[in-house]
Symmetry: C2
Subunit: 490 residues, 2 copies
């Protein structure tokens, strides 16, 4: 057995012996059953200490290359080879068959899923993309955040990088509870659970209620990423039409009388996609109906901080004196979506139960991100940032609406949101996703087809415009171009 | 109607009008139906412009305080009051009844759950806590990490703070695929999905297979936080006893012949809690059995990088030529647990399906953490850190085992791990959690009772010692004290 040992190499000798012998075996030079020299003999041959050879043999034995019985020779062992990556390998398992029915359905939805590209930036080839509802990264308060994270890692670096509490970072919960008072919501810290974004909030709630064939009531249209996860968790969707004033409450009453409903999912402010904000009166009536049927409300306050015109009612949670409202909040829509920090505010008995699911599903939310966001808020940077966003978005929304008035066909109509990011436009006929793309993309513009947002997907008269991602001038140009495209058609 | 307006205040006048009128209504001075002065009259009275009053009335209307009909007076509206936090409020909803059966069970487990306090630091009053398997924060490479995160925020701050890809940050996937080759695993980036820690990996896999009444095979004892989440996802546990060589493979064969099994969950290296590492031969046989039954293996490589003695076989995944092994990896056990970065490596068809579940459950994993860890690894800091850990942990493990030999009763026995963090000790009789605490805590020491780790929980002869969290000297002192306590009893 001839081994090449390089005494000048930085690799230790025992590692060189290992790799040489592995090579000889892997290439078939030493076959299973082949007797190796004794450690003493090999040590003499190579001019190294016997312990070096012993170390190499021991590791080769652990790796399954060698076998040695006490008082006997060391021999080469029959061993499966390490697999080398091969792009055409197929699995022995048919994953589709192995999956639960729900997982198969979710995978199918995922493959055809186009809405909310926010989370998977694509379509960069389209210069005027009005589809993303992720805030414009050019508005990020980067320098302030950099300062915060630097301070956090300096003061409490080790603390910030270890496991946090399952409930969330306590000072952040305190801050959120204080800040919610600005929106009329009065809760204690133990009614707050930090989540990896509001999406995880929806999932945790669905996992809590799910799997009993219960129904969940959603608005139609609604936030499209909620639909697949509600269904995945075994909930049946009942869709209630949106009117210009919000969810149709008469239909809601009817639906609640007929079915066992786990909860009602609603976005009272700047609803996604319609941009509709409900009145205080609508919120009271919705609450009354749900109180009467003892059905919880999941209030998605994803853009609570984006009330840049001021004329918005307080959250349903603020008037919920029977603790039936489960409120979802997030830092993703006004601050940094990539940090994935959201929260659930609800009755503490429910929070404890959701915490149990969170604890066993991913232990805790990223601790550093929570501490850094808390620092950012505590130093007043968050308020400052929100004020800036309000200034910018008031201008963007005004520009968008006024351009639509100037450039869109007069046969069209659209919502006039009092905040948030999205406008819902109505054409005079139904257009599918492909038809709409074919109409607008030649003009370098992309909007989100209405069909994405209806639980029962079908071509729709609507499309959604988001003002989140582009700046004012880009929005103006986008809408001008969109107007040209629409005029050709309507 | 008398309003106090302070012209010197930094609050805008219209906000002062709003808060004054809200106060009068909330305190009952203005009752529902009360007619408000016209905007013109109030403007004159206060000496402000009419538009200021209009702005205030509009916002009060949105908040549900006022009602105004065109051509008529503005009146006070009947309105639910905002709820003030009251610690004794109960919910109208009985959450226990509203929950799914699985959620009720999970909550009960959560309430009584004591193992793996790692993620919820408690028991700081016990000076020698041998329970946590979170790495000692004193070993964190803080300065290097601070440099990385600073660089990331400087070069690509906005990029790092926006939504990332659902699959995970691509350069991190590339790095992981490269690094896995060190462990004999050859996979492409599209066979990797980044998760929020390995715990989320287990949950995603369980969600994929779950809900068909299938069984899952676990080692007994096993990682305790896996049990509740497997059950929550509708999987039935079949426990196979651990021998000194690893999972009993004869029992495994029997179990696979009798039941429809979704997957086999195993930790071949430094098993938690036993510290047992299986041989290459054991891994081959386990793979052969599962290939024969076409049952996937979930290989939890949570401490793959903690092979500080070198004598460890390569992962089962390295010899899996039929793509049936689903491999879980994590940065939590060697680097920063609070960043929650782990990954799943498996057949790309399965990865795509797990990605679908991940996408709808929390969109993406924290983007900044992924980019910062990638930078840390790419600059060579991770390798450097692992080398340091190996040096430190070799010493800690040697110290622990040698102290156990010196100070433990001779009637006891324990495992001799070749890496990782945990040692499994056996007493001469069964002790429940409380009895064991009563024995050791007076000596200032805490260990993890064996009963935590058995799927069928019952007092056990075993306890687990973790060397992760304390330094060498602390471990020596802890074991000396533990020896004293045990001598009193055995």
């Amino acid at each position: 057995m001839l081994l090449k040992i390089d005494r000048m190499s930085s690799d230790p000798i025992f590692k060189q012996i290992i790799s040489e012998i592995r090579g000889l075996i892997d290439q078939g030079w030493l076959e299973p059953g082949h007797k190796l020299p004794s450690t003493r003999a090999l040590a003499e041959q190579l001019g190294v200490t016997r312990s070096t050879v012993c170390q190499a043999y021991a590791e080769l034995q652990a790796l399954g290359y060698l076998q040695s019985r006490p008082g006997s020779y060391t021999t080469v062992q029959q061993r499966r080879k390490e697999v080398v990556y091969n792009p055409i390998y197929h699995s022995l398992i048919d994953w589709k068959k192995a999956a639960s029915i729900e997982a198969v359905k979710l995978h199918e939805i995922f493959l055809g899923y186009a809405p909310e590209r926010s989370s998977d930036p694509k379509g960069k080839d389209i210069p005027y993309d009005l589809t993303s509802i992720a805030p414009d990264p050019r508005l990020y308060p980067l320098a302030d955040f950099r300062r915060c994270i630097h301070l956090v890692l300096l003061d409490s670096g080790a603390e910030a990088l270890r496991y946090g509490s399952h409930k969330g970072y306590h000072p952040l919960c305190e801050y959120i509870s204080k800040r919610l008072r600005l929106h009329g919501i009065s809760v204690s810290e133990d009614e707050i659970l930090i989540t990896s974004g509001a999406q995880q909030g929806i999932d945790l709630i669905a996992r809590f209620f799910g799997r009993q064939g219960k129904a969940v009531i959603v608005e139609s249209p609604t936030y499209p990423s909620s639909i697949p996860i509600l269904q995945f968790n075994g909930l049946k969707l009942l869709d209630i039409p949106m009117r210009s004033s919000g969810m149709d409450l008469n239909s809601l009453e009817k639906a609640l009388s007929g079915e066992k409903v786990a909860f009602v999912y609603t976005m009272p402010n700047f609803q996604n996609p319609t941009g509709i904000t409900t009145s205080h009166h609508h919120r009271e009536r919705l609450l009354d109906i749900c109180l009467q049927h003892k059905v919880p409300i999941v209030e998605d306050g994803f853009e609570e901080d984006m009330k840049y015109y001021g004329k918005v009612a307080l959250p349903i949670k603020s008037i919920d004196d029977k603790n039936i409202v489960i409120y979802l909040g997030t830092f993703s829509k006004a601050l940094f979506p990539g940090l994935r920090i959201g929260w659930i505010t609800a009755d503490r008995e429910l929070i404890l139960r959701l915490q149990a699911i969170k604890r066993f599903s991913d232990l805790t939310t990223n601790h550093l991100a929570q501490i850094a966001i808390h620092r950012f808020c505590a130093l007043g940077y968050y308020d400052k940032h929100i004020q800036k966003l309000h200034r910018v978005f008031r201008q963007k929304m005004e520009a968008a609406l006024s351009c639509m008035k100037s450039y869109f066909p007069s046969s069209m109509s659209w919502t006039h949101p009092v905040g948030g990011y999205t406008i819902w436009a109505k054409m005079t006929r139904r257009l599918g996703e492909k038809e709409l793309d074919a109409l607008t993309i030649p003009y370098g513009v992309k909007v989100s087809p209405g069909e994405y947002y209806f639980p029962r997907r079908a071509p729709s008269e609507h499309f959604r415009i988001s003002i989140a991602h582009l700046n004012k001038e880009e929005i103006q140009e986008a809408i001008k171009r969109l107007g040209k495209a629409l005029h050709k058609f309507f």
